[in-house]
Amino acid sequence: MNVQVDHHDKVLVARVEGRVDSSNSQDFERQLQGAIGEDVQAVVVDLGQLAYISSAGLRVVLLVAKTLGQRNVSISLCALSHPVQSVFEISGFNRIIQIYDTQADALAAAG
């Protein structure tokens, strides 16, 4: 698992690669939280290279979304592979976190 960060003006794009499960979810949380600076206005998490996410990983996404929500920073996800999309649909998290097909769509909405 690895998190790569790009800045598009005040929008932060975090690209997550590999697998996130209970063995590395704390690392995932540290990397994602650490990447989000004070001046960020929106966060787009690109899951295009994420092969698998377990419920421990979903908890990190929820935690980050809640923390950002308190700061009025928007968060969205994009480019989910079919298995990852299915995890979000079964857990119902697609109903509480905005999901876009592509990073471009997510950036357009965030900008």
Binding site: S22, S25, S55, A56, S91, G92, F93, I96
Partner: protein, 394 residues
């Protein structure tokens, strides 16, 4: 007035019974006489909350308080609030009128571990006491380990024990169906639980759940989820309304953004209808006698604890004689073998062929065995839980 009974001076566990009904003392002594004689349980009695607090102040070795709700001077709900002031190393079990949702809910929120309903069924009561004591033992072990600041591995082992202590080990005997459940806890984690709840009119509540994280905090979250679910299940009929209530209660105190996926269904053996609501859990599989199977529909739910105020939908399915419903957690389908391949839903479906459906127990054990055989030496990071409902043959 507190009365000492039993002729054994040092029982293994001490139970304080609080009730203003004088006949209860005689009844408890009579029905529990074998346990009292063998020195397993010792009983104390108090007539109301004030007397109970007196007993708890004088005797620091009470393990369980079994309390009625409506009593003069101080009621059971007020007593629950006061108990931690005098003794924080015990568990309370509330005796309530059947379906008295409001009081059960308040009691659970005030820290009751479990409840039994009136009129008291002593077999039920014994099972509840046994489970509460088992839990208390694990809990005390957990506290002792934490005090010693043992390694994290040990803490996780303790969480697993807490988890095992809340699982049902007896399954209801009901005409027209059987139920079985088992779990294989991953070596050092623990987030799954299941429950089988006897409901009014012969119906059965069936729950399978998976907490998002591992370790002691997750085990505590699992405990409250299980307690709140049981409390809601006996008071509310619709599975969707049950999940909505548990979700709202879990959201009241949840800073760590933990959540629990829960599938909850109510099965009525007289109509063979299973009504269910899915709170973000992987859907159960319905297996027919010809070996074909399909997943139950999702009901537009969301994992519990994520956000408050969510409305949970529900659906129902009419089962046929010989049908088998397999409730499981994603540890089953997402188990990985040494080649890094997933067990998957198709392998699960492939376990069932044309012919007689296995019994509830055979099916659950067969599934867990198949997953373990598949995984082989590959380390597993998730619990394996499987609960089965088998409709009787025609």
């Amino acid at each position: 007035m507190a009365v000492q009974v039993g002729d054994r001076d040092n029982p293994d566990y001490k139970i304080l019974v609080v009730d203003d009904e004088p006949d209860l003392e005689r009844l408890v002594r009579q029905r529990m006489r074998r346990h009292i004689r063998r020195g397993k349980y010792g009983f104390e009695f108090a007539g109301n909350g004030v007397e109970a607090l007196q007993v708890l102040t004088e005797k620091k070795d009470i393990d369980i308080v079994l309390s009625d709700i409506n009593m003069p001077k101080m009621d059971g709900l007020t007593l629950l609030q006061q108990i931690p002031e005098v003794n924080s190393d015990l568990r309370s079990v509330i005796v309530s009128a059947y379906g008295d949702m409001e009081n059960i809910r308040t009691a659970m929120n005030r820290g009751a571990f479990d409840f039994v309903t009136k009129p008291i069924d002593f077999t039920d009561l014994e099972v509840t006491i046994e489970r509460t004591l088992r839990h208390l033992d694990e809990w005390r072990a957990a506290l002792a380990s934490r005090d010693k600041l043992v390694a994290i591995q040990n803490e996780l082992a303790v969480a697993t024990k807490i988890q095992q202590s809340i699982l049902p080990d007896k399954f209801p005997h009901v005409d027209g169906c059987e139920v079985y459940g088992c779990m294989h806890a991953a070596r050092n984690v623990g987030g799954d639980f299941f429950d089988v709840i006897n409901l009014a009119a012969g119906r059965i509540g069936l729950a399978v759940a998976d907490v998002s994280d591992k370790g002691v905090p997750a085990a505590l979250f699992m405990m409250s989820s299980r307690t709140l679910l049981k409390g809601a299940a006996v008071g509310v009929e619709d599975p969707g309304a049950v999940l909505r209530e548990v979700n709202d209660l879990l959201n009241e105190t949840n800073d760590a953004a933990m959540f629990v996926t829960v599938f909850y269904g109510v099965y009525d053996p007289s109509t063979r209808v299973l009504t269910f609501s899915n709170g973000g859990h992987n859907p159960p599989l319905v297996v027919h006698p010809d070996g074909s199977s399909e997943e139950l529909e999702l009901t537009g739910g969301l994992a519990l604890g994520a956000i408050p105020g969510f409305e949970y939908g529900q659906a129902s399915v009419r089962l046929s004689p010989g049908d088998l419903v397999v409730f499981f957690t994603d540890g089953v389908t997402e188990a990985i073998n040494v080649a890094n391949e997933e067990f998957g839903l198709e392998s699960l479906q492939g376990l069932f062929g044309d012919g007689r459906t296995p019994t509830a127990r055979e099916a659950a054990e067969m599934i867990l065995q198949a997953v373990q055989d598949f995984a082989g030496e590959a380390p597993q990071f998730d619990d394996l839980t499987c609960m089965t409902l088998r409709v009787a043959d025609e």
